[in-house]
Symmetry: C2
Subunit: 183 residues, 2 copies
DNA sequence: GGTGATGTAGACCGAATTGTCTACATGGCT
DNA sequence: AGCCATGTAGACAATTCGGTCTACATCACC
């Protein structure tokens, strides 16, 4: 991977996630990264292509993080407990891999674009499917109702934590409820 | 209320909700509404003031809608059932009062602005508190754990429905789980 | 050393951004 | 009639937007 290209993606992802995509112009991406505009357009056909690359990068980071958090679980109870304590840690800005918490990048991005067929929104949906798949793979047997419950509460917890709720208490409640459901 | 002012708010809310706030410029609001730019700035000091007015309008519409959907419930079970069937109907674009579903306007707006102290984000938090309060008021007795569970799953359902999930099945699962929790 | 390919820096372009200003029309109230 | 609030159209300003183009630096290869 070309180092300038990677630098552009890293910078764009950071700025987009912190501020929202439509609040960040190409000029800001290049001035923060120190890369020339002409170089950016040599690597990406348009701003949209850069956005998609940033989404892909974020997806890889998040998927690897989640995979690592859940791997080695020995029961559904443990998957639930690990998942929500990882989320709680993220909400409190203690997960360096994911950067300072400002909600889910994919939910946030969905809010900014309205064309459901755009590559951007397609990728956001793909990310959510993949996350569901990762969780599913770590559950001991594929209990679809439990998986749905986990995914719903995960999204709920993220949104509430973003809008100023107490992340630790929300995730604790999710864990409690889901473990009650499972036993 | 001045009719031009009201027209501006209605137009802005519609455009903002459908497309995202940062995707809509002042020029579009005035050209769609047919109101002169000078008039807009006679009523609103800035775009931000117009945004706040649109948020307020949306909050009033949503709060009244929710209040009406929940009023007359006779049990916690019924509150849960009514809430999530109302949400399902919203997700399927059957709630004319709320317009075509494109997620929660306040969550979406939170995604576009990063200054947590801005009036915009303060209002988004206020809205969520008020919605919680409305639900709480309709529950038979203030069971804090149940209220938390309802609020978490409500946000989760909205997000999943927005990202292409099956709204009807998600709300059905929420209802099922919460009613199990309550009994 | 000379040459051609490639990557980069940054000036530049037209359009769009929010917001201001001038000049004028309309309509109700005293 | 006179007055004031409210409306209109739209030119204008300053900035920023995404995107292109020219000019130059660097580097491998003969």
């Amino acid at each position: 991977m070309n180092p300038k290209r990677q630098l552009l993606i890293d910078t764009a992802l950071d700025l987009f996630y912190k501020n929202g995509i439509n609040s960040i112009g190409i000029n800001e991406v290049i001035s923060v990264s120190g890369v020339a505009k002409r170089t950016l357009y040599a690597h990406f056909a348009s701003k949209e292509a850069l956005i998609v690359a940033a989404l892909q990068q974020r997806h890889e980071i998040f998927a690897a993080w989640l995979e690592q958090k859940l791997s080695g679980s020995n029961s559904n109870q443990e998957v639930i407990q690990r998942l929500f304590s990882a989320l709680a840690s993220w909400f409190e800005h203690k997960e360096n891999t994911l950067g300072d918490f400002r909600g889910c990048f994919f939910i946030n991005t969905s809010a900014e674009f309205s064309d459901m067929n755009s590559e951007i929104l397609q990728f956001c949906r793909f990310h959510k499917e993949q996350v569901r798949e990762i969780i599913s793979r770590h559950l001991i047997d594929a209990d679809s109702a439990l998986l749905d419950a986990i995914c719903i509460m995960k999204e709920g917890a993220i949104v509430i934590a973003q809008l100023g709720g107490d992340g630790a208490s929300v995730t604790a409640k999710c864990t409690e409820m889901l473990q009650a459901l499972e036993s």
